[in-house]
């Protein structure tokens, strides 16, 4: 659960002065450089993480079931016959060319497997975040408005209840009720057995797909909703103490107009920033939701890959999640500056 966040690396919020665009660009370049360093450290971390595995490091990277000649090819490709520092260099250059090796389980290049899963994950996560933010922003605004009432306390408690419930458990209970007992929705997966899929269009644009999407998306949305709701509520309360709200009221605007035109609009900045920062947390939820609903996405693939000792796939999925989080942290920082004219870049 994130709160009002001050972006990293952003200096003091001093009053506007000087040449903002130039400062902004130097700030952006600075942050891009930082992002590269973070990526470098993350990939180094992954390199060592997967080499402290107990047992023979060779067996971690080479499928024992492959014929000897093929094993040697893989060994060359990853430089596993060379000293550690040379392995590291090979690993890094492979990584930045998107060369993640061949999956032990699928016998296919990792990049192909992941490419397929990325879309399923993106759609599920996008749908869940969309629902959570739409409901959260509106709900948070209303809660700030009716602050102190019974409904507000109940609403806050309810949102926190779903934030506290482990999302895999919520998923199990949701399946128990809506799939098993009521039979309204399928018990998991992304499409019915026997559905023919010819293209990505068929895969994601069909009633059958939507039918499968409802339960996992709602489950994840329930888990995510507390963050936008509480951030919006806090921001609204702070804005509502400001004089211009009193002004708007004094002008004779209706409460609804004061709420939507003045208070909400000025409270959206922290919510937008938190959306980016929440994705890191959402990815964790995604791993669990996909596992429970057998949704063929990146998160489920990562868990399955670890269980199957399919290290190339596990490594690549984790790396991709890291890139996404690092990138969105950067976007959050930049948005913070663009949306709030008071932010300066010195």
């Amino acid at each position: 659960m994130a709160r009002r966040v001050t972006p990293a690396g952003l200096g003091s919020l001093r009053s506007w002065k000087g040449d903002k665009p130039a400062r902004m660009w130097s700030y952006i370049i600075n942050r891009l450089f930082q992002m590269l360093v973070t990526l470098l450290v993350l990939s180094t971390l992954i390199f060592f993480l997967f080499r402290i595995l107990p047992g023979d490091p060779l067996s971690m990277f080479i499928d024992a079931a492959l014929p000897v000649e093929a094993q040697e090819v893989v060994m060359k490709q990853f430089g596993l016959d060379k000293p550690l520092w040379q392995q590291y260099i090979t690993y890094m250059s492979n990584l930045f060319r998107g060369e993640f090796g061949v999956s032990f389980h699928y016998r296919q290049p990792v990049i192909e497997i992941i490419g397929e899963k990325v879309w399923s994950t993106a759609i599920l996560m996008g749908a869940a975040l969309l629902i959570a933010f739409a409901v959260g922003v509106l709900g948070g605004a209303i809660m700030a408005w009716i602050r102190g009432s019974k409904i507000e306390i109940f609403g806050t408690a309810l949102a926190l209840f779903f934030r506290s419930a482990p999302v895999f458990w919520t998923g199990m209970v949701v399946l128990l009720i809506f799939s098993y007992r009521l039979g309204w929705f399928p018990a998991g997966g992304m499409r019915s057995v026997g559905t023919e899929v010819l293209s990505n269009w068929d895969k994601f644009v069909s009633l059958d797909f939507l039918h499968h999407l409802v339960l996992p998306a709602l489950t994840a949305a329930l888990y995510y909703i507390a963050t936008p709701l509480l951030v919006m509520r806090t921001a609204m309360i702070e804005v509502m103490n400001d004089d211009f709200i009193e002004m708007a009221r004094a002008k004779g605007l209706s409460e609804w107009k004061v709420l939507t035109r003045h208070a909400m609009r000025n409270s959206l900045l922290p919510v937008v920033t938190v959306l980016c920062l929440m994705v890191g947390f959402a990815i964790g939820g995604q791993v669990l939701v996909e596992t429970v609903f057998r949704w063929p996405g990146l998160g489920r693939e990562m868990v399955a890959a670890i269980q199957r000792n399919d290290y190339p796939v596990a490594q690549a999925t984790f790396f991709l999640m890291g890139i996404l989080v690092i990138f969105l942290n950067l976007v959050a920082d930049l948005l913070y500056g663009i949306l709030d004219p008071r932010v300066t870049y010195d």
Binding site: T6, V37, L39, L49, P166, F168, M172, V325
Partner: protein
Amino acid sequence: MNALREHFEILMKDRLGMIGMAILISFVLIAIFAPYIAPYDPMESQYRPDGSFARMDPPSREFIFGTTRMGRDVFSQVIIGSRVALIVGIVSAIASTLIGVNVGLISGYYGGRIDNFLMRLTDIVYGVPFLPFVIILVAILGPSLGNTLLAIILISWRTTARVIRSQVLTLKQRVFIEAARVSGAGNLRIIYRHIMPNIVPMALVYTAMNLSTAILTEASVSFLGYGDPLLVSWGKTLHMAYVAQAIYDAWWWVVPPGLAITLLVLSGFFISRAYEEIANPRLRER
């Protein structure tokens, strides 16, 4: 001591904070007296009064939360499982607060190169996806309570560090710090005697939140099958239930452990929120 009592009083004024405190204390009592409360050995197969194997029994007088596929008593598992949850929650909360507060204090107070180094380190930790990292580290090092704790603590100090640093940056400018320096107080004395007391409410916001996050994370890792093989935990009970597809015929195996996790995690969030009202006076009712 006075400051402590003051915190406690403000916590008690906040209705949700009070409920949270009550839930947390109840769970601590349950965990301490768990062996006396649990009617059976949580891992032992049970038999019905008529001597038959108590497999997948719905809740009854003998087994108030029913039994599992192996005939184990769900109620006893929930009671004993509170221990793992609380140990993980409390240890991670304390450790991440200690690390985070110190990083934040040092970074904010000294500024310059030290600040730059510590904050870039924090940025890097922010780039690590939390739950996937914990899953991978625990899978690699081997499932155990210690490894789960290690993985959680390695990441969870980051928010505390960042927030405390920004608080220290504003506190540093205040007159009383200048006064302390003029009267000859050393750096460490200023940091721990003069600045630290002022960041306690904000630190507690994140201590309580880390308690909740750690418990959720441990439950998730155990649910995925990487729980400590020697210990009974709520996440592991749910893992067994999921693997046995209990959602189809044994709701009693699924609902109680999940509710226990939810309540305990919720208590942490309630307490955290109550402290936030203290730490951020603008939120207080006018």
